[in-house]
């Protein structure tokens, strides 16, 4: 059945929109401000959820596309004073980088493990480059890369037809949350489409997919580029939200964090990465404000506990539990 015709899709959309518009009725401004960055990071988590969880491509350096998106947005928005083209470029540039990297690795038949390592080197190279880009040579129009300090004064999102109409805290919350809902719903459609099914099949057995006549290289490249576009979009939103970008977007710890979100929430699901991201982000925020507890140690312990107790992730574990409780008569004859 086509995903948009399924009741589950519309229920998911209704619940998500109810949450997006319902939360501001009760939440304070600070909570909305925090939820905005959670939503942005959840978009980033979804990008890896698609590439790794659905496509089986372990892209350890997904943060590279996030960082590229953030920097491209900052450079263009600072120069043009308009977020519209900056937002478009922040999606396109990571796609170009992903296409280039993906072409050489997927068409060069680089194995999965090597790909993971190669993908991890990209943010590390960019981290090193950006950190050293503090001299006057790194001035691009009105924007300066700023080395370790990054780019301050990044303009917020604005109305494409009225540059003076910029988004405040509330507007940024709605924009980020709606982008998250839109990305989630679009990915639901994508995963259940012909393309998505082939991508999942390639994850399951690359050789079999090849022997059935699918050119797996294009499917891998396609899903990798889509993931890069989503990560770039998240990066742009992050830059607009925080009004600055810094090289920490390319750091190893940030790259690892995205992997943890997906693993904790559950691979192969779209809800999992979102949930994993929200749980880890909320805990980090809470632990950061609580004295006497190291957030890194506490999160490390949580991750070890999660791997031992729910090795398949939170969402798949809940799904398995519900499936076991469901009466046999309710098991549907699913069509592919």
């Amino acid at each position: 059945m086509c995903e948009v015709k399924s009741p589950g899709f519309w229920w998911a959309a209704i619940v998500a929109l109810a949450l997006v518009f319902g939360i501001p009725l009760f939440a304070e401004t600070y909570t909305l401000y925090t939820l905005t960055v959670f939503a942005i990071m959840a978009v980033l988590a979804l990008s890896l959820g698609l590439v790794w969880g659905v496509g089986g491509i372990l892209a350890l350096g997904q943060s590279a596309f996030f960082g590229i998106g953030a920097y491209v947005y900052a450079l263009i928005a600072v120069n043009m004073g308009d977020s519209t083209w900056a937002l478009a470029a922040s999606v396109l540039m990571p796609v170009c980088v992903a296409a280039l990297l993906g072409y050489f690795t997927f068409f060069g038949r680089i194995s999965d493990v090597y790909f993971a390592v190669i993908s991890l080197t990209i943010p590390l190279i960019l981290l090193s480059l950006i950190n050293s880009a503090s001299g006057p040579a790194y001035q691009f129009g009105k924007a300066h890369l700023g080395g370790y300090n990054g780019i301050p004064g990044v303009p917020p999102l604005n109305n494409p037809f009225d540059l003076s109409d910029v988004l405040g805290f509330d507007g940024m919350y709605y924009a980020s949350a709606l982008v998250l809902v839109a990305v989630y719903l679009v990915l639901r459609i994508l995963v259940r489409s012909r393309f998505g099914r082939v991508v999942a099949a390639v994850r399951e057995n690359e050789l079999r997919a090849e022997l059935l006549g699918y050119d797996v290289r294009y499917y891998k490249l396609g899903v990798f580029c889509i993931g890069a576009a989503i990560a770039g979009l998240a990066g742009a939103l992050y830059a607009a939200w925080g009004a600055s970008v810094g090289p920490t977007a390319f750091s190893l710890s940030f790259s690892a964090q995205i992997v943890i979100w997906v693993l904790l929430g559950g691979m192969g699901t779209l809800l999992g990465p979102i949930l994993g991201c929200f749980v880890v982000q909320a805990l980090s925020t809470w632990l950061g404000s609580a004295s006497g507890v190291s957030p890194e140690i506490a999160l490390g312990l949580l991750f070890i506990a999660a791997v031992l107790l729910v090795p398949s992730g939170i969402v798949p574990s809940i799904q398995q539990h519900l499936r076991r409780r469901r009466p046999a008569g309710l098991v549907s004859k699913e069509t592919p």
Binding site: R194, R197, V198, A200, A201, R203, E204, N205, L207, R208, A209, E210, L211, L212, G213, Y214, D215, V216, G268, V331, K333, E334, T335, P336
Partner: protein, 239 residues
């Protein structure tokens, strides 16, 4: 000729797994390949399907040179391949496995209909929603066979299709192959001599990377060279 190989060679680190094979296959033929382990059957098979590139020589399929084509391009020409160890999408259901094969060659609706028909044909309707990874070996063989046949390939390559099957399943496989005989062209690699005897028209015997003999099953069984090289271990059961 539907398939021809011309002086096909494949070496691994100086060791020749396949040494100068010239092989011809007519349309509608059902050819069995036999030979001891290490005779070069699987390497030959993998070269035909694009999984391994030949060191030298040429492969012509449907009149076109496919020597350096990748697997997916060869599959798209109408070649179905069943590998030695069943290769399925373990995380997908039996229905989804069949659908993945059908949807490449037909639209969604005809593909769904074809899946239902194939499930019945391979006696797997009751297991349609079972994950392929949870199936018994014999069932996995059937699902893979179903995946290949559902796309309607002109040339079907089966590597040990009866391995791990129960006697009943082997009988059904024989019946299916006999039913399809003449409609499609087959190359079958198999060790089970009872199975080969029931289906074979012509047999090609591989030995040390070369074609030792190519003849009818009866002639092959009588051939002393073949008996010395291979049938010593299988000859009794074949007779």
């Amino acid at each position: 000729m539907i398939l021809q190989t011309h002086d096909l060679w494949r070496t691994f680190g100086g060791v020749a797994a396949v040494s100068g094979i010239n092989f011809n296959l007519k349309k509608g033929e059902l050819r069995c390949l036999i030979g001891a382990n290490g005779a070069g059957k699987s390497t030959f098979f993998k070269m035909l399907t694009g999984q391994i590139k030949p060191t030298s020589g040429r492969i012509t399929l449907f009149g076109k040179d496919v020597t350096n084509l990748p697997s997916h391009a060869i599959a798209r020409m109408g070649v179905g391949v069943k590998t030695q160890v069943p290769n399925l999408f373990n995380g997908l259901s039996v229905r989804e496995n069949l659908f993945m094969s059908a949807q490449r060659v037909m639209g969604r609706k005809p593909a769904l209909e074809a899946v239902d028909a194939m499930l019945e044909k391979i006696h797997m309707t009751a297991h349609a929603q079972t994950l392929a990874g949870k199936l018994a070996h014999g069932h996995r063989q059937w699902v893979e066979l179903g995946m290949i046949l559902i796309s309607g390939p002109q040339l079907v390559l089966l590597d040990e299709p009866a391995a791990g099957m129960t006697a009943g399943e082997v009988e059904r496989t024989i019946a299916l192959l006999n039913e399809l005989r003449g409609q499609r062209t087959f190359i079958i690699v198999e060790h089970d001599m009872h199975f080969i005897r029931r289906i074979a028209e012509k047999v090609t015997v591989f030995h040390r990377g070369r074609v030792l003999v190519e003849d009818t099953m009866e002639a092959v069984v009588r051939n002393t060279e073949v008996r010395d090289a291979y049938l010593g271990q299988h000859g009794k059961e074949a007779r």
